[in-house]
C-alpha cells in the first residue's frame, strides 16, 4: 500500500471536460465572444457520463465542454480577430471622446474584418456534408430575408440573405430538384433533393413579423453570419455543377425583354436585377450554351449482387422521378393577385410549368390574363365573376397537392368556393399499425393507377336509402320480437305462480376450446412476466406502454373520423330531406 497517494480528479473523466467559465478564461474571451466563437465553430457542450466525477464531487449544475474542443479553439485565427476588434472598438471610442474625427476616419478605414471560409471548409470537409446541414441555414436565410429593413439587424445582412435565398430558389428551379411541398400553419415547408440529400426548409407566410422581445437577435445574427457564408459557397458550387453563371444572370433573350424601354441607366439597377431574379420567371444564363441533346441514354452498369427485379424496380423509380419532374410541363398558369405569388411561381416552375401574373403585381410577368393559351388560373376567392372558357379556375392547394401526389389530381375538388379536401403532409410515411387517413388511402390507390370510381358515391347514397328502409323494417321486426318476449315472460310468471318450484332444463355449456387455449396462454405469459427481473420488467412495461399508446391513438383517430363522417352524412340527409320537402 505504499507509494504516493493518488490525487482525486487528476485523471480519467475529470480531465476530459472543462467548464464553460474555465474555457472562457483559457481563451481569454468575454462571454458574448465565447458564444459567438462556439456558434461559428459549431462547438456544443457535452454531458459527461458521471457528472459528479467531472464536477469534482460537486453536484452544482454546470455546462461542460470537451477539453479537446477548447484546445482546438485555441488555434483559431478568428480568436485573434475578436481581440483586434475589441481593441479597435476601444480606440474608436477614445477617438470619439476626443472628437478626433480624422482618427475616427482612419480607424474606420482600417476596421478589422474576418472571413469564415476556412471554418466552413473545416466544419464541412466535403460538399455533401455541407448539403446535409443546409436545412437550418436555408430556413434562417429565408426568415431573415423577410425582416423589415429597419432595426433588428443590419440591412446588408437582410439583403445578402434575400440574394442567397433567391439564388438557391433559382438553382432548385433550374435543376428541378423540388420534391415535396407542405402548407402548414407555421409556414410553407419545401423539400428538395440535391445530390441525393433531402434538404428541407420552411418559409414564413408573407406577413409583417410581430417581433418578439424575448429573443436574442445577436445570437440569431451570428448564426446567420455563418449560414450566409455557407450558403454562398454552396450556391456557387451548385451553380457550377449545372454550368450556370454565378452570380446568376438572366438568360440573354429574356434579359432584353426585361430591360426598361427608356434605355437609360436605372438608378436602382442592381436592386431591380435582384427583383427580376426573385420573380423566378426567367431562365438563367449558362456558361456554355445549352445543347439540346442533353438527354443521353445512360449506360447501365449492373451492380453486383443485384437481381433483375431490383434493377427493374430501380428503373421504374427513375422513370417515375423523371415523370414527376415534368409534372406541369406544357401547362400555362396564371396567378391571381390574392394568391402567394412567390411560393406558387417557384413550385410551378420547378415542375416545368409556365407561370405569369398581373403586370402591376410584380416585375417579370410574361403574359397577360387575356392570353388564350392559359390552361390553369389559380384563384383564391369565393367566386370568379368573369370566367374565360378554356381554362380551369383552381384554388392554390391543387398545385401543392398535385406535386405531393406526383400526378395532376382531378380538378373538380379544387374549384373556387368548393370545400377543399384535406391537405396532407407528404413527410409522413405510415408504418404498419399507424393510422392512415382515408384521403391518403384514396391517393395511394390513385398512384397505383386504380381509377377512383366517382359513381360510387351516388351508389352509396342509393344504398343508404335502401339501408334506411331496411332499418325501419328491422325496427318493426324488433318490436314484434319484444312483444313476443313479453308474452312469454307473462306466461312464465303465471307458471311460477302456479308452482313454487320449477325445474329449468340444464344447458350444455359448450367449452370454447380455442378460447380456453388462449386464456391458458395468456395466463402463462402473465406468470412469466411475474418472474422477470426488475430492470427487464421496467423495459418491457415501457415498450408495451408505448405500443399500446400508439394503438390507442390510432383507434382514437379512426373513431373520431367515423363520428365525423357519420355527422356529415346525417347533415347531408337532413338537407336532402329539407330540399325534398
Amino acid at each position: 500500500m505504499g507509494g504516493v497517494e493518488k490525487k482525486k480528479y487528476e485523471r480519467g473523466a475529470a480531465t476530459n471536460y472543462i467548464t464553460r467559465n474555465r474555457a472562457r478564461k483559457k481563451l481569454q474571451l468575454s462571454l458574448p465572444d465565447f458564444r459567438r466563437l462556439c456558434i461559428l465553430k459549431g462547438i456544443y457542450p457535452h454531458e459527461p457520463k458521471h457528472k459528479k466525477k467531472v464536477n469534482k464531487g460537486s453536484t452544482a449544475p454546470r455546462t461542460f465542454y470537451l477539453l479537446k474542443d477548447i484546445k482546438f479553439l485555441l488555434h483559431e485565427p478568428i480568436v485573434n480577430k475578436f481581440r483586434e476588434y475589441k481593441v479597435f472598438v476601444r480606440k474608436l471610442r477614445k477617438a470619439y471622446g476626443k472628437s478626433e474625427w480624422s482618427t475616427v476616419d482612419r480607424l474606420k478605414d482600417n476596421k478589422p474584418t474576418y472571413k469564415l471560409d476556412h471554418i466552413v471548409k473545416e466544419r464541412y470537409p466535403t460538399f455533401v456534408d455541407a448539403l446535409r446541414d443546409l436545412d437550418d441555414a436555408l430556413s434562417m436565410c429565408f426568415l431573415f430575408s423577410t425582416f423589415p429593413r429597419t432595426g433588428k439587424c443590419h440591412v446588408q445582412t437582410i439583403q445578402l440573405c434575400r440574394r442567397l435565398a433567391v439564388e438557391f430558389l433559382n438553382y432548385v428551379i433550374a435543376s428541378r430538384s423540388l420534391r415535396k411541398v407542405f402548407l402548414s400553419i407555421k409556414g410553407i415547408y419545401y423539400q428538395a433533393e440535391v445530390l441525393g440529400q433531402p434538404i428541407t426548409w420552411i418559409t414564413p407566410y408573407t406577413f409583417a413579423h410581430d417581433h418578439p422581445t424575448d429573443v436574442d437577435y445577436r445570437v440569431m445574427a451570428t448564426f446567420t453570419e455563418f449560414y450566409t457564408t455557407l450558403l454562398g459557397f454552396v450556391n456557387f458550387r451548385l451553380y457550377q455543377s449545372l454550368n450556370l453563371l454565378y452570380p446568376p444572370k438572366i438568360d440573354g433573350q429574356a434579359d432584353i425583354e426585361l430591360t426598361p424601354a427608356e434605355g437609360k441607366e436605372y438608378a436602382m439597377d442592381s436592386e431591380s436585377y435582384l427583383e427580376k431574379l426573385s420573380a423566378l420567371s426567367s431562365t438563367l444564363a449558362r456558361v456554355v450554351a445549352p445543347t439540346h441533346e442533353e438527354e443521353v441514354e445512360l449506360d447501365e452498369f449492373p451492380v453486383e449482387g443485384e437481381t433483375a427485379e431490383q434493377m427493374d424496380a430501380r428503373k421504374k423509380e427513375q422513370e417515375a422521378l423523371e415523370k414527376h419532374k415534368k409534372l406541369f410541363e406544357g401547362l400555362r398558369f396564371f396567378l391571381n393577385r390574392e394568391v402567394p405569388r412567390e411560393a406558387l411561381a417557384f413550385v410551378i416552375r420547378c415542375f416545368g410549368g409556365q407561370v405569369s401574373w398581373d403586370k402591376s403585381l410584380c416585375i417579370g410577368a410574361t403574359y397577360d390574363v387575356s392570353d388564350p393559351s392559359i390552361t390553369h388560373q389559380i384563384v383564391d376567392r369565393p367566386q370568379v365573376q368573369q370566367q374565360v372558357v378554356g381554362r380551369y379556375y383552381l384554388q392554390p392547394q391543387w398545385v401543392f397537392d398535385s406535386v405531393n401526389a406526383k400526378l395532376c389530381l382531378p380538378v373538380a375538388d379544387y374549384f373556387p368556393g368548393v370545400l377543399l379536401p384535406p391537405h396532407l403532409s407528404p413527410f409522413v410515411t405510415e408504418q404498419e399499425g399507424d393510422y392512415i387517413p382515408p384521403e391518403k388511402l384514396k391517393l395511394l390507390a390513385m398512384q397505383r393507377g386504380e381509377e377512383p370510381d366517382e359513381e360510387s358515391e351516388e351508389e352509396e347514397e342509393e344504398e343508404e336509402e335502401d339501408n334506411d328502409k331496411e332499418e325501419e323494417e328491422e325496427d318493426e321486426s324488433e318490436k314484434e320480437e319484444e312483444i313476443k318476449l313479453k308474452k312469454l315472460e307473462e306466461q312464465k310468471t303465471q307458471g311460477n305462480k302456479a308452482l313454487p318450484v320449477t325445474v329449468t332444463a340444464g344447458k350444455v355449456r359448450l367449452e370454447d376450446k380455442q378460447r380456453l387455449e388462449q386464456e391458458q396462454q395468456s395466463e402463462e405469459k402473465r406468470l412469466a412476466i411475474m418472474m422477470m427481473k426488475k430492470r427487464e420488467k421496467y423495459l418491457y412495461k415501457k415498450i408495451m406502454f408505448g405500443k399500446k399508446r400508439k394503438i390507442r391513438e390510432a383507434n382514437k383517430l379512426a373513431a373520431k373520423r367515423k363520428a365525423h363522417d357519420a355527422a356529415v352524412k346525417e347533415q347531408k340527409k337532413k338537407s336532402k330531406k329539407a330540399r325534398q320537402a
Binding site: S184, H209, R237
Partner: protein
C-alpha cells in the same frame, strides 16, 4: 417709418383713455360669480349690465336688431359693443388667414444677398488678418508630429484591400477521408422533426382537437406537449394567418444547436417478447392446485389461522369471533366448535401422527386441546399420555404456569392451559410433537418460550432480546431453531446453544416464514409485498426476491411432499409456485409461478390471512378476512 408710426398712434385708441376697469390683465372668469366685473378709477365697482332677457327676448332681439350679428360683449366691462366696419374687416382678414395689415405684402421679391456665385467684391470690407499671411504654428506642430510618427513607424500606409472573390469553389479539392478537423466524437446536429398531418392548414377532420383535448393541451407544460401547436382548419389558403411563434421557433433551434449537449442515444431495439424469460410451462409442472373445490363457511369474523391434522383428515381454524372450529376436510363439515370468547391468534396441530393435540393461542394462554376426532384409540392414548404426568419432587421456577383443565373444560376437550404473562402471538410444534414454542408480544428476552408438553416444563432460551420477534420455527431435521425478527432471520443451534446463521431478508418487515422439508431453503414473506427465497447453503442473502403480490404478504407455506410453495397476500390472491430444490449442490433451485388463485373477497382491506398445504395431497387451504376457508385442488 416715423410717419407710419404716427398714423398708428392716431388710429389706435390710447390705453389710458380706454381703461375704465382697473383689474388688470387677469382671467375675467374670476368675476363670473360676482355682480361686478372690476373697479373703475375711483375704486368703485363696475357692475355688469343687468341682463334680464329671457330666451324670447334674445330671440326677438336677434330678429329685430339689424346689428345683432356684429354685436359682441366686452369682457372687461360686460357691455355690448358694436364692431365698426374697420374692425369687421380685420376680423374677416384674420379668418381668411391673411395679415391684419392691409398694406403688408407677403410676396415681395427676395433679394439674394449671399448668393452661391462668387462676387467680385467682398460682402464686408474688413481687411484680412495678419495670421492669414503667417504659417500656422499649430499646423506645423501637427505635421511634424505626423512626420515623426511615420518615421517611427507608428503610422503605416493603408493596407491594400484583399481582392479575393467573396464566393469561390471551396470544395475544389475535397478530401472525403478527412474526418472533421477535431476528433471523432463530433455528433452532427439532428435534423428538425418534419411536420405531420396535424400541422396542415387544412388537416383531415379527425386531427382537430375536441374541446376537452384542447383544454388538456393548454393545461400541459409547453415541454410536455406532444404537439407544439393546436391543429387548426382554414377553409382556404388566403385565410391562413402568420404564425406568431415563427421567430421563436427558429431562435429555439439556434439555442438547441449551440447550447444543448448532444449525445448518441442507443435505441433499444428489443422485441418485448424476447424479454420474457423462458420458463417451463406450468402444465408440465403438475400437480398443483388449480380450482377452488370447497368453501368452509361458519366463522363470522376473519379467520386468522388454520392448521391441519398430520393425516390430513381434519382441519382446525381460529377466528376473530373467538371460536375454534374443527372441520372434516373432505366434506367441509364443521365437526365441532370451541368458543373462547377472545381472538384466537394462532393454532397448531401436533405434527406427531400418534398424538391428537392442538395448541391454541388465545390472549395470554396457550391452550392444549384434544379435539377427540378420528381414531378413538388414538385420542384416548393422547389423554393417557397427558394424564401420566408425574410432577417432579421439587418445584422449579418457570416462566409460565401449567394449569390442568377443570372438569367442565375437560369435557370440552381442553386438557392443559399454559398461562403466560403477556399476549401470545404464535405457537408452533416441534416435528416430534413433544416440544412447542410460543411467541409473546413483548420486548424482553422472554419473547420466545419453549415448552415441553410431556414434562410440563418451560424455559426461555434467549438471554437477550434481539428485537421484536415475528415468528419462530423448528427446523424439520436438524436441532435448529429459526427466529424471524423484523429484518433478519436467525438460526440457532439448540444443542450447541449458539447462533449458526443470520439471514438478511432485504425486506422492511418480515411477516411470516416457512422452511422447505429438505431443511436447506427458507422462504419468508414480508409486509412490503416481497417474498424472499433463501438458499442456506448459498448465502445469507436471498437467492431470489419475488415481487408477485401487489400488497403485503400475510403467510407463506411449503408443501411437505411436492415441490410447491404458496404465498397469501392482502390483495386477495394466493400464488402457488413451483419450487424445485435439487440435490445437486451446483444446481440452483428452480422457481416458477404456476397459478394465481383468487376467491377471497377483500374485507376491511384484508385479503387472505393464512395459507396451508395438505400434508399428502397437492391441495392448498386458505383462510381469508371474509370469514371463509377455501380449499383449492
Amino acid at each position: 417709418m416715423a410717419l407710419l408710426a404716427h398714423n398708428e398712434y392716431e388710429e389706435d385708441s390710447s390705453d389710458e383713455e380706454d381703461i375704465r376697469n382697473t383689474v388688470g390683465n387677469i382671467p375675467m372668469e374670476w368675476y363670473q360669480d360676482f355682480p361686478h366685473v372690476g373697479y373703475d378709477l375711483e375704486g368703485k365697482r363696475i357692475y355688469k349690465p343687468i341682463r334680464n332677457k329671457d330666451e324670447l327676448d334674445l330671440f326677438l332681439e336677434k330678429m329685430e336688431n339689424p346689428d345683432y350679428w356684429r354685436t359682441v360683449q366686452d369682457p372687461k366691462t360686460g357691455a355690448d359693443l358694436k364692431l365698426t366696419d374697420e374692425q369687421l374687416e380685420l376680423v374677416q382678414r384674420l379668418q381668411k388667414g391673411q395679415f391684419g395689415d392691409v398694406h403688408f405684402n407677403p410676396y415681395e421679391p427676395s433679394i439674394d444677398f449671399f448668393t452661391h456665385e462668387v462676387m467680385i467684391h467682398p460682402v464686408t470690407n474688413r481687411p484680412a488678418d495678419k495670421r492669414s499671411f503667417i504659417p500656422s504654428l499649430i499646423e506645423k506642430e501637427k505635421v511634424s508630429k505626423l512626420v515623426h510618427a511615420i518615421k517611427m513607424g507608428w503610422i503605416k500606409p493603408r493596407k491594400p484591400k484583399e481582392e479575393t472573390p467573396t464566393y469561390y469553389d471551396l470544395w475544389a479539392h475535397e478530401d472525403p477521408n478527412s474526418i472533421l478537423g477535431r476528433h471523432k466524437m463530433h455528433v452532427p446536429a439532428p435534423k428538425m422533426k418534419l411536420p405531420g398531418h396535424e400541422e396542415s392548414y387544412n388537416p383531415p377532420p379527425e386531427y382537430l382537437l375536441s374541446e376537452e383535448e384542447r383544454l388538456a393541451w393548454e393545461q400541459q407544460e409547453p415541454e410536455e406537449r406532444r404537439m407544439s401547436v393546436v391543429p387548426q382548419q382554414h377553409r382556404s389558403l388566403r385565410a391562413v394567418p402568420a404564425f406568431p411563434r415563427f421567430i421563436h421557433e427558429r431562435f429555439e433551434r439556434c439555442l438547441d444547436l449551440y447550447l444543448c449537449p448532444r449525445q448518441r442515444k442507443m435505441r433499444v431495439n428489443v422485441d418485448p417478447e424476447e424479454l420474457i424469460p423462458k420458463l417451463p410451462k406450468p402444465r408440465d409442472l403438475q400437480p398443483f392446485p388449480t380450482t377452488q373445490a370447497l368453501v368452509y363457511r361458519g366463522h363470522t369474523c376473519l379467520v386468522r389461522c388454520i392448521s391441519i391434522s398430520p393425516n390430513g383428515q381434519w382441519l382446525a381454524s381460529g377466528s376473530d369471533d373467538g371460536s375454534v372450529r374443527f372441520w372434516e376436510v373432505s366434506t367441509a363439515r364443521c365437526m365441532h366448535a370451541l368458543s373462547f370468547g377472545a381472538v384466537v391468534k394462532s393454532l397448531a396441530w401436533n405434527p406427531n401422527p400418534s398424538i391428537c393435540l392442538v395448541a391454541i393461542a388465545v390472549e395470554q394462554t396457550v391452550v392444549l386441546v384434544n379435539p377427540c376426532l378420528g381414531d378413538k384409540l388414538l385420542y384416548g392414548a393422547t389423554d393417557q399420555l397427558l394424564a401420566s404426568y408425574v410432577p417432579p419432587d421439587e418445584e422449579r421456577v418457570q416462566p409460565v404456569q401449567w394449569v390442568p383443565a377443570t372438569a367442565e373444560q375437560h369435557r370440552k376437550g381442553i386438557r392443559l392451559l399454559l398461562q403466560h404473562g403477556k399476549e401470545v402471538k404464535q405457537v408452533t410444534w416441534h416435528g416430534k410433537g413433544d416440544y412447542l414454542a410460543s411467541v409473546v408480544s413483548d420486548n424482553s428476552n422472554q419473547q420466545v418460550l419453549i415448552h415441553q408438553s410431556s414434562k410440563r416444563w418451560s424455559q426461555a432460551p434467549f438471554r437477550r432480546s434481539k428485537g421484536l420477534v415475528q415468528c419462530v420455527l423448528f427446523h424439520p431435521i436438524r436441532p435448529h431453531f429459526l427466529v424471524a425478527t423484523q429484518r433478519y432471520i436467525r438460526v440457532y443451534n439448540l444443542l450447541k446453544q449458539e447462533l449458526t446463521k443470520k439471514l438478511m431478508s432485504n425486506c422492511k418487515w418480515v411477516s411470516s416464514m416457512a422452511i422447505h422439508p429438505g431443511g436447506d431453503n427458507i422462504i419468508c414473506g414480508s409486509y412490503d409485498s416481497k417474498l424472499a427465497w433463501f438458499d442456506m447453503d448459498l448465502s445469507t442473502r436471498p437467492y431470489r426476491l419475488l415481487r408477485h403480490h401487489k400488497r403485503a404478504l400475510r403467510s407463506v407455506a411449503f408443501h411437505k411432499r411436492y415441490p410447491l410453495f404458496a404465498s397469501a397476500s392482502d390483495d386477495g390472491t394466493v400464488i402457488v409456485c413451483h419450487g424445485m430444490v435439487y440435490n445437486d449442490l451446483l444446481q440452483n433451485p428452480l422457481l416458477v409461478p404456476v397459478k394465481v388463485l383468487k376467491g377471497h373477497e377483500l374485507t376491511q382491506d384484508l385479503g387472505v390471512l393464512d395459507v396451508l398445504f395438505h400434508p399428502t395431497q397437492p391441495w392448498v387451504f386458505s383462510s381469508g378476512a371474509d370469514g371463509t376457508i377455501r380449499l383449492y385442488t
